[in-house]
């Protein structure tokens, strides 16, 4: 059947614009899918890198239970790739009232270069590193205006020691950290001298050989080393890191999910139209003896060609785009963490498979339908696609919608993820089923409205949307695109806030961490513009609840302020009142964070013993909470912190003020030369954002790509619609529709489709966001804030794209000769 192939080739050549847009949408889909997938993986790997921090590719740590450890202590196992001995210490940097912890690190440079080579600004190498030299990360030096060659003074064990800044390094590799402060690299001999360390190394970091695993290596080392003397452990908890990284790369996978849905829809609708367009030809060929199989096969071959071309071009383009995005990110982070470009094989395979499989399936469905149609009907041109909403389908749609919306509310555990996935897909699928009816209802309403404001053209335009396949198709695509943009933006913004603003929702504007006497607190309260001042007693790691260690216990005399200052989220809202009552009643009450509740196996109402080893007392558990703004695991009334645990100085002070900066300056002055860590929340957040800001850049770029795909999809749709509508426009023109009227009607139709699509998208994306946060919720102690503008802007954008997409058809139909369309049956 060469002739059919030849026909298709001619067709491709003739319909250049459509073939192009079609290929472009497959290509973009494959590309976007690949990029979003890979960027998610790259991002995850960057997150892991950050979490591993200093250890780099080393995954096992060996320490002595007491004292130092020597290179000879580590057995020469074949599973060891590299062992890097390190010595660690700590120091304090002080300038203008700022105190910053600077952790000191030294290592065998050769081994360190293998497991985690420091990256210097200016790409140099660490050479001739000796004496009182120091390497500091750029984040630290730029903050305090330190340059290479400057002298910095660090307090080590209370003694000031001067160092010469030998090099400035990127905030990467050993300098990466996930706690506040900075890490500095010293020569090995120097660190031993300043710390007075004589005992070999403080720790060995070991990288397993390529064919070994961390688990293997740990058990081998444990076997070889005396258990009583050495401690062998995993550097970081890989599972924990993976889970954490996954959560932070969630927006990227969400982007993948939406680009997948959009790709499927765009490709499918394109093929549907193409097949419809080719029906007469299919009929003709079949009437002259081509079998159903031949026709199907040849049309599928064509789609296979599209799919492969799209994939083959799309993925390499994706690699370039990915590099571009990550490099852009690298640039803004030239002083920061380097994000590896991970081209994941599953990503490549998945994107290619989607391009090909979706193309094939999308083509197969309509082709099969077409090839089964009675030849006679096709030849006589009697096949018109019906698009009357059927009650059954609408019913299924409504039920599916309700089930999808409710399901995540009733699931828990792993089922929650399944329910969440089902819910996201279900909401989209249900909406697609319901869109025809909704459009009909909306068009009836709009008919009246436009009839009143835009005359008969408006009325006809609105009327024309009823039972109109082209229109529902457009609205569907628009809905998917707009809701994708909304969901991605909301989740993206959420992640931004989540990782950059731990004090989100907390009222405090500044805090001081250090020893503070009651007089100190009184002085702060009297400062000009100070509003709420909340001093807290702090016990770190010296209290147990029953026998469970509590890492941080705080005492407060104003639980109500505590609640709002630190944004405590009680496990259940009635607990807030219950806890307040218990604290006010003067009994021994404690509220405990959810992690600690779980660890200790506590329940609300339990009576537990809080003890510091010497004395213990019974406390009633009056509530449980989670909070991102405080690390406190347990909170008790301050009078018992004094009476039971002998608290005298406050350890933390939180405040709100008209001018938080002014208060902070005075607090620092009050502390004088006493070590403290005091920041306004704004300062703290700026610090945090400097680290994560660049991570978020790619997310915004990806949103742009989604927009691009959406725009291409909508334009593709409007274009193929025009192909279908040509005849209708010709009919209208033959009975006297002028170009001006046509323009008006097309714009009204475009605007209305845009409007309906936007309204549906806003509602559905709102529900999708609910689902997303229900699923992610248990892990995060934050609720999303929905910005109405995100919704409105995305909706407006959708309407604008549709209106822009109407311009081409308007111009095309201007030039169109109705005679030729009508004759061309």
């Amino acid at each position: 059947m060469k002739i059919i192939l030849k026909y298709i080739l001619t067709n491709v050549k003739e319909r250049k614009a459509r073939t192009f847009v079609m290929l472009l949408s497959i290509l973009l889909s494959a590309m976007l899918l690949f990029v979003s997938f890979s960027i998610g993986v790259s991002y995850e790997s960057a997150q892991r890198k950050m979490a591993r921090g200093m250890a780099g590719s080393a995954t096992v740590s060996v320490q002595s239970v007491e004292g130092g450890i020597y290179a000879d202590d580590i057995p020469a196992l074949p599973d060891i790739q590299t062992k890097a001995g390190i010595v660690e210490g700590t120091s304090l940097y002080h300038e203008n009232g700022y105190y910053e912890t600077v952790d000191l690190l030294a290592a065998d440079m050769e081994a360190l270069n293998q497991i985690n080579k420091p990256r210097l600004i200016g790409d140099g190498e660490v050479t001739a590193f000796s004496g009182n030299q120091i390497i500091l990360p750029d984040r630290f030096t730029s903050k305090y205006g330190i340059e290479k060659g400057d002298t910095v003074t660090l307090q080590i064990n209370g003694t000031p020691v001067d160092f010469e800044v030998a090099e400035i390094a990127a905030y990467d590799t050993v300098f990466l950290r996930h706690t506040r402060g900075a890490t500095a690299l010293l020569p090995l001999e120097t660190i031993k001298e300043v710390l007075g360390w004589e005992d070999g190394y403080s720790e060995f970091l070991i990288e397993p050989a390529p064919n070994s695993t961390t688990g293997n290596l740990i058990s081998e080392l444990k076997n070889a080393l005396d258990n009583g003397r050495y401690r062998v452990s995993e550097v970081v908890n890989e599972a924990q890191i993976a889970a954490d990284a996954r959560q932070k790369s969630m927006p990227f996978f969400l982007i993948s999910f939406f680009s997948l849905t959009m790709s499927i829809f765009i490709i499918y609708s394109s093929y549907k139209v193409i097949t419809l367009d080719r029906l007469p030809i299919i009929g003709t060929f079949r009437s002259i003896g081509a079998t159903e199989k031949t026709v199907t096969r040849i049309l599928l071959l064509e789609s296979l060609f599209y799919g492969c071309t799209g994939g083959v071009i799309g993925i390499p383009v994706g690699v370039i785009v990915l590099k571009g995005i990550l490099q852009g990110m690298g640039k803004s982070l030239s002083q920061g963490i380097e994000i590896p470009v991970v081209i994941s094989v599953p990503g490549v395979i998945l994107s290619f498979a989607v391009a090909v499989i979706v193309s094939l399936c999308s083509a197969w469905l309509p082709v099969r339908r077409a090839s089964r149609l009675p030849i006679k009907d096709i030849v006589l041109g009697r096949v018109e696609e019906k698009h009357i909403p059927r009650p059954l389908i609408v019913g299924i749609g409504i039920v599916l919608f309700i089930v999808s919306a409710l399901l995540p509310h009733f699931a828990s555990g792993t089922m929650l993820y399944l329910a969440g996935g089902f819910s996201l897909l279900g909401l989209i699928a249900a909406t697609i089923l319901v869109i025809p009816v909704f459009t009909n209802i909306a068009s009836a309403g709009l008919e009246r409205f436009y009839g009143a404001v835009a005359g008969n053209e408006g009325r006809i335009a609105a009327r024309n949307m009823k039972d109109n396949k082209n229109v529902t198709q457009n609205i569907t695509l628009l809905f998917i695109s707009i809701s994708a943009i909304i969901a991605i933006r909301v989740v993206g913004n959420f992640v931004t806030t989540y990782i950059s603003d731990v004090f989100h929702g907390a009222e405090l504007q500044g805090f001081a961490d250090g020893h503070m006497k009651p007089e100190f607190v009184e002085q702060v309260k009297e400062m000009d513009g100070a509003e709420k001042v909340l001093p807290l007693y702090v016990f770190k790691n010296n209290v147990q609840g029953n026998s469970e260690p509590v890492s941080r216990l705080e005492g407060t005399d104003n639980l109500e302020w505590y609640n709002s200052m630190f944004a405590l989220h009680y496990t259940d809202s009635s607990m807030s009142e219950q806890a307040a009552l218990a604290f006010a009643s003067g009994e021994r009450a404690v509220i405990i964070n959810e992690d600690c509740m779980k660890r200790g196996g506590f329940s609300i109402g339990d009576t537990i013993t809080l003890s510091n080893g010497t004395s213990g007392n019974f406390y009633v558990v009056a509530g449980s909470f989670k909070s991102r703004a405080t690390d406190a695991e347990a909170i008790i009334p301050s009078m018992y912190a004094v009476s039971d645990f002998g608290a005298s100085d406050y350890g933390l002070l939180a405040y709100t003020a008209a001018d938080p900066d002014a208060i902070m300056v005075q607090i620092r002055a009050l502390f004088g030369e006493t070590s403290n860590w005091s920041r306004t929340v704004e300062e703290f957040n700026n610090d945090a954002l400097a680290t994560v800001g660049a991570f978020l850049q790619p997310m915004h770029s990806m949103t742009c790509f989604i927009l691009l795909l959406a725009a291409v999809g909508v334009i593709n749709n409007l274009l193929i619609n025009y192909i279908q509508k040509r005849r209708t426009i010709a009919m209208y023109k033959s009975i006297g529709l002028s170009n001006r009227q046509n323009r008006k009607m097309t714009l009204i139709e475009g605007f209305s489709s845009g409007l309906i699509g936007a309204v549906i998208a806003i509602v559905v994306s709102y529900m999708e966001i609910q689902t997303i946060f229900l699923v992610a919720g248990p892990k995060i102690s934050m609720t999303p804030e929905l910005d109405i503008w995100t919704f409105l802007v995305a909706g407006t954008l959708g309407i604008i794209v549709t209106l822009l997409g109407s311009i081409v058809p308007i111009f095309k139909s201007r030039k169109m000769k109705p005679v030729e369309e009508i004759k061309f049956e």
Partner: protein, 228 residues
């Protein structure tokens, strides 16, 4: 024929039509002049490809001649702009095609009313004419149906009703029975004949069928781009 109706409904003067196909230019209509009197029912016949449809479309203002003019009410409609020409199509001309050309998602009544609606008229002001025309074409019980629920003959009746609703001066029809079986075709022809007789409607129709042509009062034959 009565002197009062001797007035020309439409008049074509020296119509020439060339089609450019790539480098080759073919002259399809080679200087055609004709005059159709009000109330006349004219059939245009001729071999396939002789230029019948081309002539009809030029007379009906759907296409423009390469040279020559078409006069309707003393006005040369071949040189009007889109806005004016569209208005003439809505108010003075009705067209019926071989393939009905109805808007599939509008119902019968809406399809019929379309030219009036496009002309800014209100549906409610035309209840009576709509009812009348539905009666004329025999579709009074079908006005809420969509085209796909109708047979070919019924669809063609809708198309005729749509062409007539605005009381056009001239009804143009291009092979209105070309897509119908002979029985249905005959019914349509007798409908057109009745409209011509009872309402004095001027009709210009292209047809291949000598049988159909019998319904008209004059037959024009196009051959090799000229009138015979």
């Amino acid at each position: 024929m009565n002197i009062l109706t001797e007035e020309a409904a439409i008049e074509g003067k020296n119509i020439i039509k060339d089609f450019q196909l790539g480098d080759t230019k073919t002259r399809v209509l080679k200087n055609i002049s004709l005059k159709v009197i009000q109330g006349e029912f004219v059939s245009i016949m001729g071999q396939s490809g002789s230029g019948k449809s081309t002539l009809l479309y030029i007379l009906g203002g759907l296409d423009v001649p390469t040279s020559g003019s078409v006069f309707m009410n003393g006005m040369d409609i071949s040189k009007l702009d889109d806005e004016k020409m569209s208005r003439i199509r809505r108010q003075n001309i009705g067209f019926v095609f071989q393939f009905y050309n109805l808007i599939p998602n509008l119902n019968v009544a809406e399809n019929i009313m379309l030219p009036l609606l496009l002309d800014g008229k209100k549906m409610r002001d035309y209840k009576k004419p709509l009812k009348d025309i539905l009666e004329v074409v025999g579709l009074s019980d079908k006005q809420g149906h969509t085209p796909r629920e109708l047979s070919g003959g019924q669809q063609q009746r809708v198309a005729i009703a749509r062409a007539l609703i605005g009381n056009p001066e001239i009804l143009f029809a291009d092979e209105p029975t070309g897509n119908l079986d002979s029985h249905t075709g005959a019914e349509i022809m007798s409908l057109l004949q009745r409209i011509n007789k009872e309402r004095g409607q001027t009709i210009i129709m292209v047809t291949h069928s000598p049988e159909a042509a019998k319904s008209s009062n004059r037959v024009i034959t196009v051959s090799d781009g000229l009138l015979q």
